[in-house]
Amino acid sequence: MKIDWTRNETLVFLVIVAFCLVATAVDPAFLSLPTLFDLLRNSIVTGIFAIGVLLVLISGGIDVSFTAIAAFSMYTTTLTLVSLGVDVPWYGIFVLSILIGTGLGLINAVFVAGFRLPTLIVTLGTLSAFRGFLLTFVGSQLISNVPAGMRDFSRLTMLRGTTGEGYFYSLPWAFLALVLVVIGTWFLLNRTLLGRKIFAIGGSSESAHRIGIGVRGVQVFVYAYVGALSGLAGIIHASLARVANPFDLVGLELSVIAAVVLGGARLTGGYGTITGTLLGVALIVLVSNSLILLGIPSTWQSVVIGTLILLGTGLPAYQAKRAALRAG
């Protein structure tokens, strides 16, 4: 198999391997099952967010409001069920949160597809509006007595065990949600006409329009899909933490976008892979959890992530620019 050294995926993979090698050299305990399962557990929410962001980037837009959507759907769902006092199984709770998320995603779609406004500014506006609405009209108090369904879900463990040294490790079934989202989105992007349309409108909205693709319809789908995934990620986050905090999640958006662009998705649209995105997520989760192992204080975390973004996307962009200049 030929290795393409100019691809982001290769670069990110090499950085991850280097990171793990150095971390293991510093602390041999790094290379263990508990570390692996910690990383997997921490990548569930970031991973689901990242898949949503990937779809938006491929379609040629950007969404920064997904964390606010997640916090909104998660908190509203929990508050509704707690105040109604009804006993709903966990999948019912999930469906409700996903529906709220889809609704908020459709609001984004109204501005992006309906009014054709720049996506960054629209979603910055909705980020602030959703969050402001949640904290003003829904509530700003932490809910710690989450519905029984959510607590049941947090107890569903896929794998558990103890290492020889007596360290405990486990992986919740919530991880399966990430796996399903990944498989479903892969199928959507690579095996359906709708997926090809998403790539097409990201590559060139004008050309897509001229070959008869309903650009607006595809955009509506993309923003609704991101909303649905955000609702799912939000309720998983609250279920695993067994607490619904309306101040959670918002602020994560930059590291999620960082993960996706590190994985090679282009902000200009039309290009991006699921493998790259997952590698990007792995790198960002590694950096946020294990930076201290490399002897770098955790206060330097955003400097490292920022540098990774600039180098990881700057080098391929520079190569592309030089190639374009050579081609004339």
């Binding site: 501005f111 960054l120 629209v122 506006g125 402001g132 204080p297 206060t299 992530i305 996307t313 700057g314």
Partner: protein, 343 residues
Amino acid sequence: MDQDMNKPAAQRPARQPGGVQALLSSEIGQLSALALVIFVVMAALDPSRFLTTGNFSSMAFQFPEFAILSLAMMLSMMTGGIDLSVVGVSNLAAVVAALILSALAGPQALGLAAGATIALAIAAALLVGALCGLLNGVIIGVFGLPPILATLGSGLIFTGLAVAITGGSAVLGFPPAFAFLGNGAVFGVPMPLIVFVVIAAVVWLVLERTALGLRIQMLGTNPLAARFAGIDDLAVTVRTYLLSGIFSAAAGLVIMSRANSAKADYGSSYLLLSILICVLGGINPYGGFGRVAGLVLAVLSLQFLSSGLNMLQVSNFAKELIWGGLLLAVMVANGIQFSRKRR
């Protein structure tokens, strides 16, 4: 119209409504009307508190810091880009200045020693701003990264550096004289307002009276055409972001002086606010069009609104909702206007 103007007033046909309509169809006219309406509504809600010298004076101290950030944002938006790192630059510059002030002068310093240190700190902050802006310009111009991505990454780095240098806590202990920049007044005019007016005048001069300004507008209108017209897009991009960085640092100094401290996460709500001000002020987010007068009117409108909301004791969360909703509403209104012009 021109012929009418030359006739004596009595012979001129009654065109008064037409005049108002012409004024209202211009962007500046609409913005003036908006600022006036907000002012009148807020004043009518509670004249005894809104129409006071104290309220006007506090408004004049409040708005310059985010107005300066908006000017920095405006320059990058005029080229068709965006600068998401403005708040990061302003905090990093402020932290550097704060460390110089507290280490070399301290809260007891007076006289010449304090003055020299303050001058050094201000110079250092502006230099930091210039370097940050230069970095942005080079990443965008040389490496060809989209401005959103470049300034997102660099903004993380600047904020991260400010956190790393300070360990996340506030830097305190400046010479008392430094407070003058944020809280003092010259002949009754607040210092922050003077800083804002000077920077606004510089931006106006650059945009309306220099070759760089013309090139910024051409690059923002159509980058490809600008290149074919022989415009050195790299030089324009680097200079634009350089200026944006220096202005962000100036805003950081004003914020720091008003807060009498510097911290890595000050002014985090100003990013959205500065984009909102630019969009409201008629600066086209796709680049090319925008005027300083529009931006100033947008700043005034938002400050009237903000003071009014404070007067009504609206919570910060509700304000967040209002700013976000307003941004969307203005974009929709502008968008409809754009498409109407095209037709």
